[in-house]
Symmetry: C2
């Protein structure tokens, strides 16, 4: 391919910069398109209901390493990350298509193994695998899944609708997936240097499972229905807590303060961060791939949510002018920055 001079490398813009360049000229033409690009999923009106529509692509060597990623887990995770996007719109996943690009090293049995993981995820979440494409790839495995979900129009939760003083909440705990990834990468390195050595993952099961077999928080969506809570905004944590909070603030035109001591981290993740000489707060802010839900609720919903075990209130939205801050344990304010996972910047 010809490469004239003065071109901009993609790494200079990063993923979000590139996305804003390629989406800036988009024109929406159909009245059934309620929301296009710019949220966890698009929203399409369909009779009295709405469909949410999303897609994710995973590429070998960037999103996963087959040295330590079992194909069945990979299939499961590829489906779940899409279900998570549907949940982040307050929707219920219903159908997926699965496209895979396969290099010649893959056997039929390997492909079946991967699909057994996709089918297991579909079974667990009540989703139908309704089609896809199976193509050759000149090198490496590529998985691209598109998902459709159902939602009631009035219940759909966007990123740009948080209000000032709303409470910022997060489901489950965060940072564990990234710790799992670091452990897997460390053991791969040891394995490559000393092939006979067995990996030492004693007591780290939780971290590995969080990385290799994440779940979408469909249970939180059901809790919203049960407790009659409509979040004022929501996003799933794929890139990292800090990056996702900044999305909610930016899209809603607000600032925020979150509190270091309120961010939920699993004890094993915290302990592992210490072992690896990492700052656990940095891990929580920037780790990514937890697939927990980050959402805001109106203060009037505080009573409904305060005793929900799987939800932590970590801060509140403020005026835009106040900026976006982390308040540390010793009450020092640190500006939040988006150091989330951005594959294009990794090589920098």
């Amino acid at each position: 391919m010809q490469q004239p001079k003065n071109l901009t490398p993609v790494s200079q813009l990063g993923e979000f910069g590139l996305i804003s360049r390629i989406t800036r000229d988009i024109v929406l033409r159909n009245p059934t398109t309620i929301k296009g690009a710019g949220d966890d999923a698009a929203v399409i009106e369909c009779g009295s209901k709405c469909l949410v529509f999303t897609t994710d692509m995973l590429t070998e060597g960037i999103h996963f390493d087959l040295v330590y990623f079992p194909l069945k887990h990979l299939g499961y995770k590829s489906a779940v990350v899409n279900f998570s996007d549907i949940c982040a719109m307050n929707g219920v996943p219903k159908q997926i298509t699965v496209s895979i690009g396969l290099s010649s090293k893959f056997s039929v049995e390997a492909v079946e193994e991967m699909y057994s993981g996709i089918n297991a995820a579909c079974e667990k979440y009540g989703v139908d695998l309704v089609g896809g494409d199976t193509v050759a790839s000149a090198s490496g495995l590529v998985i691209s899944i598109a998902a459709l979900g159902e939602a009631v129009k009035e219940q759909i939760t966007y990123r740009n609708t948080a209000g000032k003083n709303d409470l910022i909440c997060v489901s489950g705990d965060i940072g564990a997936s990234y710790m799992g990834l670091l452990l897997l990468q460390r053991e791969k390195k040891i394995f490559l240097e000393s092939p006979g050595v067995q990996p030492d993952f004693s007591d780290k099961d939780y971290l590995l499972r969080r990385h290799l077999l994440p779940e979408a928080r469909a249970d939180i969506i059901r809790m919203f229905q049960e407790f009659k809570i409509k979040p004022t905004s929501m996003i799933d944590i794929s890139d990292g807590l800090s990056s996702e909070i900044l999305h909610l603030c930016h899209e809603s035109g607000l600032g925020c303060t979150i509190y270091e001591d309120k961010i939920p981290m699993h004890p094993v993740a915290r302990e592992t961060a210490r072992e690896l000489n990492l700052d656990s707060t940095m891990v929580m802010l920037n780790g990514g791939e937890d697939y927990e839900l980050l959402f805001t609720i109106s203060q009037s919903d505080y009573e409904k949510i305060k005793d929900v075990q799987q939800v932590s209130i970590i801060g509140h939205m403020t005026d835009k002018e106040k900026g976006c801050y982390l308040s540390s344990k010793n009450n020092v304010l640190h500006p939040l920055t988006a150091q989330g996972w951005d594959a294009f910047l990794k090589g920098k």
Copy 2:
């Protein structure tokens, strides 16, 4: 990745064999899923309407060669092949998501060029680009598009509903895209051997356009509405006429006879086949990537369609026991075989 012995190479099954292996255990759980895998698109009920849902993946070095495939054209074609699948269900394309995997050689400007083609296709077909994913790829470009279309439930046209004695019809002309591809490959070879030589494409514009800038036959779908024709079965020609006819026969449990002298080929494609010492009938049967519509109609609709310029009647459906045949110009019957384009078998 570990590769134990006794594994089956994907090339041994081919694309269709692999698809039937990975789809055989699929369970559909949602009542809104009217049709899952096995047609040009899935069908999802949504209030009083239906949505059709499809996806296609294109990989560098397999589906396109960037030496001769302009990125804008590639973007256009990637979108159009999905619109064609929606048309093949008798639907109207409405929304797409676009996922791309980019290796580091791609500049922002190159990505924008590709999206300008996608946007041009969306504009022409009245489709909204509503989201996607933009990821790094360890090598080569991957484009995966998912499309949604609208259709009236009663008008949706499947592959498995052709009737005995139905007329087999094809839109436009076929074989030209494959001739375009062969010319581009020939000129690439000449260019690599003698870099100074300019490609000679005089009078071959039609063939190149058919390969690089195909169109989906949304006009034929509108014609069906206007003339109140409901095809009894339909598929789009992506792999090759022979392969697609066998799909309709197999799915509908029927045989067929098609007539060599009725298959429409453009004069330039026929002349080019002669120049390249290729049998033009073989090119028509097996060429692929024409994105024309192959459909069957009831004999009672003959009067409605016989004068439609863009449609040729090329044969009829028969009993399954009679088999699937091409009747040659000298009235000899040749069994039809699926030698369509199958990337996994190419290397054999």
